[in-house]
């Protein structure tokens, strides 16, 4: 990788850290190794063996898929606002938008509602993306002082349901049938799908989202824009709270730029019992789908039982994707020193 690009990547890290230090959010380096894994059915953790003194056999450990669980333990213990900027691992993911090992920025803000955090993500994205990537700093300064070019990105915020209405012409996705979703996919010219049962509405809905809706988000003609989707269905709440005014939706949001998911955030669940229930549901789904079970994070559950999570919102953002957008790359690997297949 060219030094000039290494420098830009390093400047991005610095920019992100400066953003949080200026807001008194402290950086934490939670462990990448854990005896517990993420039970989420669609995440696959890498595992390794650790020779723990006193144990006869090497012990299995998971490499984290996100720093969420240990960060939440710190929050329970009174850390206040925290962020993590570092590597996470997801087995099997390799595509122009994925690397098995990738940079994640995750942060938690005490007392923030989902909307407060959405607004902070938008401010952060402006910091990083509104500078035209091909101008060097002196040129930018010259431009700003002389012509006051406005690089503000258009921001669009929709609920999950509104996004289906606007971009897929399905007015109420919560009540739409599997066949309506199938009709939508063919109306938008999506190639044939293989392996999905006709009546599996959940999967057809997901396909409308990923194949029809998402590619249209975060665009303004040829230019970048920011689209925030909020209020995902309660069935996809993950570890987000259910909306107080609607049992069908959750306080979960995602942020899209140029058709690509950049960030995924929640107004976080607080009580241990909810975590226990969601973990077990994920674990059941995992086993039903024929994936190997994972060890649950008992330490997180114990900590949450003693002290519930303070009222907070948290979000995880893919830094390699952000850098690729900033530099105009089509594959995140172009912005990484060595991708998986070059390691």
């Amino acid at each position: 990788m060219k030094r000039s690009l290494l420098l830009k990547r390093s400047q991005l890290f610095q920019q992100l850290r400066t953003f949080f230090y200026a807001r008194s959010v402290i950086e934490v380096d939670t462990p990448m190794l854990s005896v517990a894994g993420a039970p989420d059915c669609h995440l696959s953790s890498l595992t390794t063996q650790v020779q723990v003194p006193g144990e006869r056999e090497p012990q299995p450990y998971y490499l984290h898929t996100s720093p969420e669980y240990p960060m939440k333990r710190l929050l329970c213990e009174g850390s206040g606002d925290i962020f993590y900027l570092g590597k996470v691992f997801r087995d099997g993911d390799l595509s122009p938008r994925h690397q098995v090992e990738f940079m994640m920025l995750e942060w938690y803000r005490i007392g923030f509602s989902m909307q407060d955090l959405i607004e902070e993500v938008v401010v952060l994205l402006h910091h990083v993306l509104n500078v035209p990537p091909n101008l060097s700093p002196p040129e930018i300064n010259a431009k700003r002082t002389s012509t006051t070019v406005d690089h503000t990105l258009r921001v669009e915020q929709l609920t999950y349901q509104q996004a289906f209405a606007k971009y897929a012409n399905i007015s109420n996705i919560f009540e739409a049938s599997a066949s309506q979703c199938q009709a939508c996919l063919s109306a938008y010219g999506v190639p044939e799908i293989v392996g999905v049962a006709m009546e599996d509405k959940g999967l057809w809905e997901q396909l409308v989202l990923t194949e029809v809706v998402e590619p249209q988000l975060g665009r303004e003609g040829e230019n970048l824009a920011i689209t925030v989707l909020s209020h995902y269905p309660a069935s996809q709440a993950a570890l987000a709270q259910i909306s107080s005014d609607n049992p069908l939706t959750s306080e979960r949001f995602e942020v899209f730029v140029k058709g690509m998911e950049l960030a995924n955030g929640y107004h976080e669940l607080r009580e241990a019992s909810f975590y226990q229930r969601r973990f077990e549901a994920s674990l059941n789904e995992r086993v039903q789908q024929g994936f190997s079970p994972v060890a649950l994070d008992e330490r997180l559950l114990t900590t949450l039982t003693q002290t519930p999570l303070p009222d907070c919102s948290g979000v995880a953002l893919g830094v390699d994707r952000l850098f690729a957008l900033q530099q105009g790359f089509d594959d995140i690997q172009q912005g990484i020193a060595f991708g998986l297949l070059e390691s």
Partner: protein, 188 residues
């Protein structure tokens, strides 16, 4: 029957779709993180040459296709079949017109070609990238035009027609690019 799971998908993988051999051109994983993963696949039907797209739920399987590329020598055509031979084993293969339809005009006896076999039968033939052929017909053109500013059609000994510079004449041998169907230079 051997199968491939979506985790094995990659460019160049040969598989059966509706009984026909296909090759993957591009495989993109779609992993939403919070949802089911899929593989978006662009592939070519090796019989028809058509490029198609399908999205496979991850974990789906396809049947492997017995497709191999092999270097064979072109012998001759009897009008119904085009005959090729493996110069090492002397095994002979007969290609039907559909297998050579697009490239017949570039076949020269004794030339080595890449022949794609499906279940042992030729389904497509790729001639050498550059071949030398004699011009059997072209307009005499202007004498003295050596700059090659213009062009004219010329018929080659196999029947192929390519654009050549004005100075090239009947009886001369020319080198052509078979992929693009373009004149490269006069043969020395």
């Amino acid at each position: 029957m051997a199968t491939y799971s979506t985790t094995e998908f990659k460019a160049g993988l040969k598989f059966l779709m509706d009984g026909q051999p296909c090759t993957i051109i591009e495989n993109t994983q779609v992993s939403p993180g919070k949802g089911q993963a899929f593989n978006r696949v662009r592939y070519r039907n090796l019989i028809t040459g058509r490029v198609l797209e399908k999205t496979f739920k991850s974990g789906e399987k396809v049947e492997a296709a017995d497709v191999v590329d092999t270097d064979l020598q072109y012998l001759y055509t009897d009008g119904d079949f085009w005959h090729f031979m493996d110069p090492a084993s002397f095994d002979q293969f007969q290609a039907t017109e559909s297998a050579v339809a697009d490239i017949q005009k570039w076949l020269i006896e004794q030339d080595m070609c890449t022949v794609t076999l499906f279940n042992g039968q030729p389904i497509s033939v790729t001639p050498p990238k550059q071949i030398t052929l004699e011009i059997i017909d072209t307009d005499p053109g202007l004498k003295g035009d050596t700059a090659g500013t213009g062009g004219k059609p010329a018929t080659l000994s196999t029947g192929a027609v390519v654009q050549v510079p004005l100075f090239v004449q009947i009886g001369e041998k020319v080198i052509v690019n078979t992929e693009k169907g373009e004149y490269i230079s006069r043969a020395k």
